[in-house]
Symmetry: C2
Subunit: 425 residues, 2 copies
């Protein structure tokens, strides 16, 4: 287990403040570094993770043994467990992030005013990013790498179940930083697993600039409810696919089965299927889902399509199953589909399947979700698939960044004004 | 005075929820309107304000009389008072906003993935914006116009001292909306002046998408401290001008006097002057400020420049005077100037005066403020001066929008994905 601060003397606010001030001081120097220097640090960290592979796997074996003894579920143990392949993937992911274009210094726009002032908006790092995560130890390296590439310092707080793994990965990462001449305080790992320390991070407004939670719904919910620091996250991925009357039946079948069943545990998986009452191959769609091993819960009209469809209750329309279950409603046209989505969606990803371009464009314009799709599987909702190279997470909030968030979402901008002696009249 | 809800039965959370749900419903229709339709509504509202000018001025006269009876200061009464010119300015400001480019629908970027998916980011409105303001009744029209132009609904909460004026302006604005066929719920005015109602707005996370406070420091401080809704604001404008050793003396004198004295009460006014110890005309700079009627508070070295310089104490370096007072420190070079700024700045606007391009570029790159300037007066820190046409405010936070915030800052984006049947492998 991780070092515990004596609860009798614990002052987690001071602990977080101290770490944050160190991180912010290191970040100010990082912000001025070249893209090449940041890439070099990531390459050194990747090499250090490869060198330390045995130590990382040994630390991880201890976490897994502890987890088994504590009765963690198979899915949790799978997320926790590293093997030589996963360790190598962690190192090569750092190299991939090193090769991503650096957004810092990009000029967003510029203009010259009539008085001669040259005004430009330039991308700069945000500052200090807090990452609160659980289970998957690779987040230690992945999140730190995205923060570093975009010029930000990171304060990491992993789950207690992965404490040994996280410390071993963090130690290797930091050795890479120092080998390339960077300050170790650029990536700091919280030295305690006490739950109260997370609370102190969430309240550290002005010290931590943004918090990204990575984990299950209860973690995200706690972070969103308690944080005074801005949070970039999504709580649910209740994604809908609407099969319009003018959908191609074969395309609809392939996309619907893929959207639900390719991987049922990801946030972009379809949870509700809306079938237009005028779509003629509705029974085929339902049969394809049943044949793929999916439980189908339907409204009355959907139940009439197949005797294996069980009755959906009110809560089904707002449930993220994250498993081989789907809710199916028959809807009376595009407006009814969009009304259902407006009521039940978590504003993550919704898709329409249709060969009618007018219906498609209305859906893309009017459905108010971070990602809207036409004739594609909701499982594409992913920063890598969008060409962002990697993602720190997917956000369903409306400010700062929305949908898949990668390096650009970890930056802000400043206004640079170049004059030649202008005073304001 | 405004209608008071009986405190015994007041349920401000329900009041805000009801108004917010109406505003959100109206906004969903507004989001789909063309740029021309929104511009037409603003033109109609401008016409209605002109038609109602007498009623607005009469309501305002009542507020001014109430304010005089309650002993408001001259500055507050000046901010409160409308006259025919100011009323006409309000109407023409709406016409100016109507003519600004509409950011909604702009494509931020787009790409085609190897699998054929076409992915684009498209600007969309944020949703419902809360505006909490005081004194100046023109904010009722200005803020509503910027929200409407960018497709957002607004929930306005003006100060009790301007309650009659705000109601009259709001009534005219809404008559313009309905004349052009838009829902009156797009711009709603809180029907109570009870202070608790502001608290209910600040806690309305998920109902109000963003809050913009417009007013004095105590208002902004309360909003920032209590809000669970994201806030776009600046608390202080402690703006610095650094006169480098290689500054042109005449340019430095003109800019420094302008930055401090053109208008002392705006957030972009210079509050602290940093003079490089190797700048040879330091005494001239101080004399020019004194001659312009400015009180000068200096550190020991600045006091040696002129006997009229009084001693600055520690709190002066962190004070926004908003008046004819300046604090002056002599600094030992660029790094010392940037260290002073890093310690005391409110991250609003800082300027360097120099003919050395290397020093200027280091300052522009390394000073971490929303606006950084070279050879220009900090009084240019203004959305209009930056070519944005108007501004809802200036933000010193690091997320979403920074510096002057206009129409673009009132939008977010969605990802539109256009496929041809892609399922994810």
């Amino acid at each position: 287990m991780a070092t515990k601060i004596d609860p009798g003397t614990a002052d987690f606010a001071s602990l977080v403040e101290g770490l944050a001030l160190k991180g912010r001081a290191a970040q100010r120097k990082l912000a001025a570094l070249s893209s090449a220097a940041k890439a070099d640090a990531l390459m050194q960290s990747a090499a250090a993770i490869r060198e330390d592979s045995a130590a990382i796997l040994s630390a991880n074996a201890q976490d897994v043994a502890d987890g088994e003894a504590r009765g963690l579920t198979g899915a949790m143990l799978d997320r926790l467990t590293l093997d030589p392949n996963r360790s190598e993937s962690m190192a090569s992911a750092l190299e991939a992030v090193a090769s991503l274009p650096d957004p810092v210094g990009d000029i967003i726009d510029s203009s010259t005013r009539p008085n001669g002032l040259e005004i430009s908006r330039v991308r700069v790092p945000i500052g200090l990013i807090g990452i609160i995560y659980e289970s998957r130890p690779n987040v230690t390296a992945d999140a730190a790498a995205l923060c570093l590439r975009s010029g930000n310092a990171a304060l990491l707080r992993g789950g207690s179940e992965a404490a040994h793994s996280n410390r071993a990965i963090h130690a290797a990462f930091v050795r890479g930083l120092t080998a390339s001449g960077l300050a170790p305080e650029i990536v700091q790992l919280m030295p305690t697993q006490d739950r109260e320390a997370v609370g102190a991070m969430l309240r550290a407004a002005g010290l931590i600039d943004m918090i990204v939670p990575r984990g299950g719904k209860s973690l995200v919910e706690r972070v969103q409810n308690d944080a005074r620091v801005p949070v970039l996250a999504h709580l649910d991925g209740i994604c809908h696919t609407y099969v319009h009357s003018a959908a191609d039946p074969a395309m609809a079948r392939e996309i619907v089965v893929n959207a639900k069943m390719r991987r049922t545990g990801i946030c972009g998986a379809m949870e509700t299927l809306l079938i237009d009452v005028r779509f003629t191959a509705a029974a085929d769609l339902v049969r394809a889902l049943l044949d793929a091993g999916c439980e189908v819960r339907g409204d009355l009209r959907a139940q009439s399509l197949n005797t294996q469809v069980v009755s959906a209750n009110d809560s089904d329309w707002g449930t993220e199953y994250l498993g081989a279950v789907v809710s199916v409603a028959i809807v009376d046209g595009l407006d009814a589909a969009m009304a259902h989505i407006a009521r039940h969606s978590s504003n993550h990803t919704e898709a329409i399947i249709t060969d009618d371009p007018g219906a498609a464009e209305r859906f893309l314009a009017e459905v108010d979700s971070a990602i809207v799709m036409h004739n594609a599987s909701t499982q594409f909702a992913d920063g890598g698939e969008f060409g962002l190279g990697a993602e720190i997470g997917i956000a369903t909030g409306r400010l700062h960044a929305r949908g898949p968030v990668a390096l650009e979402g970890l930056t802000t901008y400043k206004w640079q004004v170049r004059g030649s002696g202008q005073a304001r009249p």
